[in-house]
Assembly symmetry: C2
Homo-oligomer: 232 residues x 2
């Protein structure tokens, strides 16, 4: 438990108590499901190793990835509104999670109030990430989307204690395109441009950030601080 995000802000004896109760560690293979949209929620989950995708499937079978979860992050809080999951979650590579059964959580939260606060904090963080995604999809070109995604993704990897300048992307081009609201071919072309500009090198799944400043520029970050005006 210790390496997880959850115990942050807890007393050592509280961590031990949490540790004793939450012993459910699950090994999950690539593409395996943790739960489906509509399922009655059993638990929320903390990623230990690997990565996961949250997605919704429309009536017509079209799907949309709405979240990506890296080590140290929590997922499954979509079900806290009414005990039913509103997304499906699937592993994108061989992974390992720690399940926090909702029954235990309710009891524990009363004994350890800071645990409830920590779950709240992580949910708020996920909400902000989703707001950022809305911003990314709102009015940005294909290149900006891909570049911005890479910037944010590497930042999150760094936060999760993973290598951030040269690593294996568990996300397929197809999934990435879906997540970014683009076609797979468009993502491929964006990668090409970023390679040609010397921002990155990328083979099938190995990605290397060569020039973070150029990448940030492609993502639409400003260099000089513009004293921008509010829109009113």
């Amino acid at each position: 438990m210790r390496e997880l995000c959850l115990p942050a802000g807890l007393q050592p004896d509280e961590v031990s108590e949490l540790d004793r109760i939450i012993q459910k560690r699950q090994q999950v293979r690539s593409d395996e499901y943790l739960f489906h949209e509509g399922d009655v929620a059993q638990a929320i989950y903390a990623v230990r190793i690997g990565s996961f995708k949250s997605y919704r499937v429309r009536e017509d079978g079209v799907w949309q990835i709405v979240g990506i979860h890296l080590p140290g992050e929590l997922f499954g809080m979509d079900a806290l509104a009414d005990q039913h999951h509103r997304v499906s979650v699937q592993a994108m590579e061989t992974s390992n999670v720690c399940a926090l059964p909702l029954a235990d959580l309710a009891a524990l939260t009363i004994r350890i109030p800071s645990l409830g606060k920590q779950v709240m904090r992580m949910t708020s963080r996920e909400l902000n990430t989703s707001y950022e995604n809305h911003e990314l999809l709102g009015r940005r070109s294909a290149q900006e989307r891909v570049a911005l995604f890479l910037c944010r993704y590497t930042d999150r990897r760094r936060n999760s204690g993973l290598k951030a300048d040269s690593f294996d992307m568990a996300i397929s081009r197809q999934d990435l395109a879906n997540y970014l609201g683009l076609q797979l071919e468009t993502v491929s072309r964006a990668f090409r441009q970023l390679k040609d500009n010397g921002c990155i090198t990328a083979s099938r799944s190995l990605l290397e950030i060569k020039n973070i400043d150029a990448l940030r520029e492609a993502a639409g970050f400003c260099h000089g601080k513009t004293d921008y005006a509010y829109h009113h």
Copy 2:
């Protein structure tokens, strides 16, 4: 307090206690700010009357609306991750909110655990709404976006106890376009088509749903239940 979402699931005496402490009701005029991106959080807010928009402003001054808040809904939970707001919030019409100061909230949550659960529930709901927005922006035509927005918006109005088939849209075309990741002209054209199809009538701000089934169809909902396949 009674007409709000927050007391749901609380005992009568707990509601009274909440009522006694949370007496801060604020009248807010159109376009007035509740807080700005980056502000240290003072409170979370429950909408009593009116509506609000959450948005982020980029370094280059481009802004993106990421959330809309109707009566009975909570906002400001973006700050629960680290006590700093990650969006700005502005009233879209003359409104009335109830502020729940964070200091009081912390104390109250210990005395009334179900209050914390309720805040958690509302945050989870907002997270799902944001996931739905990601899905809306992902891979949908301009018409679908507008029609789907109207479907969801009227549903939420109904949930908030507001008139849902004929009402005044507080959201300007400009804001709506921004929220949906479109240009204002494109939204205007989508409205025209929906009018021509007999789905709606719309003047400047008065909107009337004439044919909800046609509207749902324009939004991409299926009629017959297709036994859809999972994508794997």
